[in-house]
C-alpha cells in the first residue's frame, strides 16, 4: 500500500501541475480580463492594480444585450442537433466495428481515424470544393439533368461540416465500450426469449450508456464553441457564440466583452457534464 501511494503522489502531482498551468491559470487570466475596464492601449484593457479597478460592465452587457443570449442559444441548438446526428450515425458504426472480425475491425478503426492525418482546415476546404455552386456535388447533379442546389454557406453545409469533423469523437468512445461488451450476455438475453431488438434495448444499449455519455460530451462541448466551421461553411445568419466572441476580440478589439463571453460559455459547458453525472448517478440508483 505504501508502495502504491509512493508512486501515486508524483503521478498525481504531474496531473495537478498540468491542470494548474494549462487550465486554471489561463482561465483566471481570462476572468481577470473580463473584469477589467476597456482601454485604448495595448493590450486594450486597463490594469486592475493599483487601486483595484474592477468592472462588471462586460458581464452586464452580455446579460442585457439579447444578441449574446441569442448566439448562445443558437450555439446550443446547433451543438445539440449535431450531437444527435453524430449519435444516430455513430452508434451503428461503432456497433458494426465492434462486432466485425479482428481484421476488419482494425481496418475500419483506421478508416475512422484516417481524417486526423490531414489538417483540419484542409479538410474543411475540401468540403468547400465539394459543396460550392460549381463543386463536385452540383456537377454530379447537373449530369443527372437536375437543377443545381445551393449548398455552401447554408445551415446544411455547417451541419455537414460539424458532423463530419466530430463523428470520430462519437464513434471511438462508443466502440471502446461496445467492444468490451460480453457476447455471452447477448446469448443469455436471446436464450431467455428476447428478440434481437429487445436484446439491443435491454442489454446492449444500457451497458453502452457510459460510452454514449462520453461521446455526447466529446462532441457537444467543442461543437458548442465551434467557430471555424460556421465561419467557413455556414451562412452569415449563423451567428454562433464562437463567431461572436471572435468578432468582439478581433474586429471590435473589445477584450473584456470577449473574455466575459468565454467565461459564460465555460460555465455553461461545465454545468452540462455536471448535470449529466448527476442524472447518471440518479439513474443508477433508480434501476
Amino acid at each position: 500500500m505504501t508502495a502504491a501511494s509512493n508512486t501515486r503522489l508524483p503521478v498525481l502531482a504531474i496531473v495537478w501541475a498540468w491542470l494548474l498551468v494549462l487550465l486554471v491559470l489561463p482561465t483566471l487570466i481570462v476572468l481577470k480580463i473580463a473584469l477589467s475596464y476597456p482601454a485604448d492601449s495595448v493590450p486594450p484593457y486597463a490594469p486592475m492594480l493599483p487601486g483595484l479597478r474592477v468592472s462588471i460592465d462586460a458581464f452586464s452587457l452580455i446579460l442585457s444585450d439579447p444578441l449574446y443570449a441569442h448566439a448562445l442559444l443558437l450555439s446550443l441548438k446547433v451543438a445539440g442537433l449535431s450531437t444527435a446526428i453524430c449519435l444516430l450515425a455513430g452508434y451503428p458504426m461503432a456497433l458494426a466495428i465492434a462486432r466485425s472480425s479482428e481484421l476488419w475491425r482494425s481496418l475500419l478503426l483506421m478508416l475512422v481515424m484516417l481524417p486526423f492525418w490531414t489538417g483540419f482546415l484542409m479538410r474543411i476546404n475540401a468540403w468547400i470544393g465539394l459543396l460550392q455552386d460549381d463543386g463536385w456535388i452540383n456537377t454530379i447533379i447537373a449530369t443527372m439533368g437536375l437543377s443545381p442546389l445551393r449548398l455552401l454557406y447554408t445551415d446544411t453545409a455547417m451541419y455537414i461540416g460539424i458532423v463530419y469533423t466530430y463523428l470520430p469523437f462519437m464513434v471511438l468512445p462508443l466502440y471502446a465500450r461496445l467492444s468490451q461488451l460480453d457476447a455471452r450476455l447477448l446469448d443469455a438475453a436471446a436464450d431467455l426469449g428476447a428478440p434481437p431488438w429487445r436484446v439491443f434495448l435491454s442489454v446492449t444499449l444500457p451497458l453502452s450508456l457510459p460510452g454514449v455519455w462520453a461521446g455526447i460530451l466529446l462532441v457537444f462541448i467543442p461543437a458548442a464553441g465551434e467557430f471555424v466551421i460556421p465561419d467557413l461553411l455556414g451562412g452569415p445568419q449563423a451567428q454562433l457564440i464562437g463567431r461572436v466572441l471572435w468578432q468582439e476580440f478581433f474586429q471590435n478589439g473589445d477584450w473584456p466583452t470577449a473574455s466575459a463571453i468565454a467565461c459564460a460559455l465555460l460555465i455553461l459547458l461545465l454545468l452540462l457534464p455536471a448535470a449529466m453525472l448527476w442524472l447518471l448517478r440518479r439513474g443508477v440508483r433508480l434501476s
Binding site: 450476455l185 446469448d187 436464450d191
Partner: protein, 339 residues
Amino acid sequence: MCFGAVVAVDALDLAVAPGELFVLLGGSGSGKSTLLRAIGGFVQPEAGRIVLDGVDLGALPPHRRPVNTMFQSYALFPHMTAAANIGFGLRMRGLERAEIEARAAEMLELVRLQGFGARRPTQLSGGQQQRVALARSLAPRPSLLLLDEPLSALDRNLRRDTREELVRLQRALGIAFILVTHDQEEALTMADRIGVMHEGRLMQVGTPAAVYERPNTRFVAQFLGAANVLPVTVRDGRIALACGMVVETAAAVPNDAMWLAVRPERVSLGASDAANRLSGVVVQRSYAGETLTHVVRLPDGTLMRATAALGHGLNAGQPAVGEAVTLSWRPDACIVLTQ
C-alpha cells in the same frame, strides 16, 4: 407444464426423456458444449434434426425456443438486480408486473436466496451468482434446461453441496436437464443417464452404473473412472494375456476381443483364492485419504493398479514399495472389450 422433452441429434442420435437428468460427459474439445449450443440455437447444425416435444427446433432462433440455458460463466446482466435478472425471461414473455415479481420471489426462495433480490451480481458471491443464474434459467419454466458446466466455477466443497441441491431441484420441478461436464464424479453422482462424448461422437449412453461397470470401448473404460487395460488374444473361446495367462471371465468371450479392463478397486493384493492371479513387484504407493493405490509391475513390465479402501486406516499389513505381491481379481471383474 412439461409434456415431454425429446432431443434428437442425428449422426449421434440422442433421445432425452421427459424429466430426465442427462449428463453429457467429455473432455475439452469433445463437442459436448457445441451440442448444447446447437440445442440452444446458437450454432446451426449442418445436418440433422433437433426435436423437442414433437416440434422441430431447427428453424427457430434462440429466443423462440422453449429451452433455457444456464451458461458456464453465468452471464448475469450486470446492470440488473438479482430479481430483475430472474424476471428477465418472464418480462420477455409479456407477463404482468405483479406476476413477474411473485415468480422472481418464488424462484429466489427456491434457490435459498430470500432477501438477496435487490443485490446486483457484483454484490453476490460466486455461489450466490450461480444460484441466481439457475433461478433465471428456471423461471420461464422451460421444458428442457441446458446446463453448461454449471459447477465448474465453484470450489470443491461448495461444488459437492450444489450438486445435491441441483438434483433436488431437478426432481422437484420435473424439468428435463441436459448437463455438460468434464467431471466424472459429477456425472456419476448426478445423472439418470450419462452420454460419454469423444471427438464429436457419442461413445456410450447408459445409466452411471451401466457405463461404469460395462464400458463398451477402451476409451470409455479409461475416461470414466480408472481402468487397468491389458491386450488379450482369444483362444478356444477364452482370453489370454500377453504373458500367457488364461483369464477366467464370468461372461462369454466374443471372438474379436482385444482388451481386458479391470477396475483398480476390483484388484486385490495378497493371498487369495480368486480365479485370476498375477505376481509382481510394488513400484509406487499413492495415498488419497479414503483409498490407497499400489502400482505393481508385472514381470513383462506391464503396470497394474490396485486400489483399496482404507476402512481401517494405514497399517503394517499393506505392502511397501519393492515388495513382491500377488494380484488377483474375480471373473466377474473382467470387462472384455472389442475396441
